[in-house]
Subunit: 338 residues, 3 copies
Amino acid sequence: MNFTGSNILSVDQFDIDSIQTIFAIADRMQPYARRQKRTKVLDGAILGNLFFEPSTRTRVSFGTAFNLLGGEVRETTGMESSALAKGESLYDTARVLSSYSDVIAMRHPKSGAVAEFAEGSRVPVINGGDGANEHPTQALLDLYTIKKELAYHGHGVDGMHICMMGDLKFGRTVHSLSRLLAMYKDIRFTLISPRELAMPDSVLDVLANAGHHVTITDQVSGSSDADIVYQTRIQQERFTTPQEADLYRGKFRLNSEIYTKHYKPNTVIMHPLPRDSRAEANELDNDLNQNPNLAIFRQADNGVLIRMALFALTLGVAEQVEKYECDVNWYSSKPSGY
Amino acid sequence: MNFTGSNILSVDQFDIDSIQTIFAIADRMQPYARRQKRTKVLDGAILGNLFFEPSTRTRVSFGTAFNLLGGEVRETTGMESSALAKGESLYDTARVLSSYSDVIAMRHPKSGAVAEFAEGSRVPVINGGDGANEHPTQALLDLYTIKKELAYHGHGVDGMHICMMGDLKFGRTVHSLSRLLAMYKDIRFTLISPRELAMPDSVLDVLANAGHHVTITDQVSGSSDADIVYQTRIQQERFTTPQEADLYRGKFRLNSEIYTKHYKPNTVIMHPLPRDSRAEANELDNDLNQNPNLAIFRQADNGVLIRMALFALTLGVAEQVEKYECDVNWYSSKPSGY
Amino acid sequence: MNFTGSNILSVDQFDIDSIQTIFAIADRMQPYARRQKRTKVLDGAILGNLFFEPSTRTRVSFGTAFNLLGGEVRETTGMESSALAKGESLYDTARVLSSYSDVIAMRHPKSGAVAEFAEGSRVPVINGGDGANEHPTQALLDLYTIKKELAYHGHGVDGMHICMMGDLKFGRTVHSLSRLLAMYKDIRFTLISPRELAMPDSVLDVLANAGHHVTITDQVSGSSDADIVYQTRIQQERFTTPQEADLYRGKFRLNSEIYTKHYKPNTVIMHPLPRDSRAEANELDNDLNQNPNLAIFRQADNGVLIRMALFALTLGVAEQVEKYECDVNWYSSKPSGY
């Protein structure tokens, strides 16, 4: 696809080539994000960061990505109670707000709202999550993380084995990631969840049609050669009774003991964050925090790189980033990561 | 008037010369707002964007205008519940907050609050709306839009015919605009509203004293040679019963059919936005969206130019804008407008 | 102490030398804050301004300080309801959010939360107030103001006489300031408060151990040779009955008449702000607003200098500030202060 001037609304708009393009640019963003140097390629450009639903991490990640390219950020948070109460259409909102920036990142609680907004917008729109529908930058950063983590261990994405665990029914993240992974070859998916929270057929069909090998189970055991374990949250309100939820929650927990028992030494641990760290959560325990295979914070770091790449591509400056490079003259101790 | 270091609080502080000055600077801001080039004339300057009442459009428009001149924006939104509860005066708030910026744009729900704040401020203050009182940048962008739209059709403001329609009693916008238009010559005003929502005598007196020709009616017909139709919202709560409001609302509706029937082909359509686009609104229909005479989004665009001009004037850099010019190196598809 | 890369969490981490270092840098920040010139030493750096509890003044002061050094600000305000409800730990929040900036300023309603966050952070964290615990930049700006005000009158901090008045029990400000002042020599403290709101023993012990002279009283009279009177708020809810509070409030009021009667002509008046300016407040009256000894707004100005100094020190650029200097080309009428 030609990125310049395009909207980024759904993972479905990417083919394997466009993903490779995004990842290649993301790789080149690393020295700027790690403060080895900086770039002013978007000096003077303005991001409209429109978060009609709160999401501190995603919002700040987009804003920081734009700042790292040298641009300015104008921000809106919270539902637009006043204009909504006055009955303004998303089309009108888009016509007006898009005249205030060069590119827009937008989150909205309603499925389809970002695409509807994009129709009225005069500048490219990047979807930062629209309800239960799509969150393409999260899917891209997850895939990018998988690719980098596996590369560190000398593997590629083709032929790998990934376990997805927890609530696979309502987790927007694992659906989009699965659709992206489907474009690769010979992947083994082990999908571990309570039966009530199994991966939807629509996603399973995509994986089957692409010829991947899928195992569906409610048992953690049996995935000892997984390269990646992608843990998600199990939410109590999805079950008939809280007791039932608690039963399941304990079963799909990941902690140091369970990890050592069920997985091979270098299995990479991922999670979309935020994770529930309360004692009763039984989700992904803090005793794994010092485990080098815990990739959850590298995921967050990679999110900045992916968003930088998408801004550079949609604004057509990907090839000029190095041209506007300059030195970093302040103290920095950013970790070097993988 | 000498703009450098001055507050912009009310339309009453302008004479025809100062308006011409603002508009001449606004014209010169167009290439920067349309991204043909950019300027760093206010690189390093700080705008304090204080919105003690929510108004996404106006807030972002001010912030973007400052960014487009190269400056930084520090923002405050929402009522200052904590400090207010502690009984802080507007004078104290102004003394403190004005030390954090080079110029302030401020909106406040209370009439007169911005002027009161300005007395304590150590930097120029631009009124972004203070309750039912004033919203001078809106009035200026409306007048600027009228001037540009008419110029496109080969006319001037003197001698034109403008219809103002809807709620003319509570609409701050049409009052301020009328006071500005009063400074021009031989304008015909057709003021269309329910009798309960007629233009106040104070405004009518200003128009009469300046020798303009005013027709007051509750009928849409009879204004077929209008150059401008300025539509406003009719709010249900202004009437004794909802039924009465609905009756009126239908009557003052503007849609493609009504426009074609009652107005000449090039009558410019304006509205202060946001407009109510719900089916039952009967205000300004979406079927006019593709009509080239619909100027409502050009109004929003012009708001950025007017605010850029006011910042440049109050900070004394209007003559240096071109000196700090540089190239835009990213993709842009901003419409060229009129 | 070595500031580069360090957190600023508590006044207890400073010795007299490190305070002198901060103040020396703050002095050098003055021409930039007063707009005689500007600096781009932190051009491209990003401040994460995380205010999990509202505080407009402190938040904007940190943001402005960073802008004045040339940097960008990414901001978060309000409690993180979503992530908290999902049970995210402060450690996780810190791991993620610290990857989005070069330095963090943080306020949190819970005592100890900023220090806990700092343990997970990958960049230096500056405490902007954590509940009843610490607010080190306020204590530093108070001490810096005392030093500058006394220097203007030809005195030093050693040997001075300071009155602290009002609620000395719950006022975080006066506790931290007292602990900083304890490092100087031969200071006379007159602590004026209702008995119910007396200075805690923990603070009194620090002052006694350092050999300072402390007088505890509930009478305003008898402090006529004070160099500084530091007024604080008396809050009604601290008393058994509102009537009792009103009784006290009147007694510890400071206005022009009381000032003239009880203090020598050049006694400097300070207050942590915001002050209660309502007629019934009886706190610090507006009739002192034109008195040149009223230093309350200079305190706010000095806060920007202190925060600039701390950013420059923690990011290791204090010695490069002048190197990145440039001209201010816009209108400015910032007062010259003392």
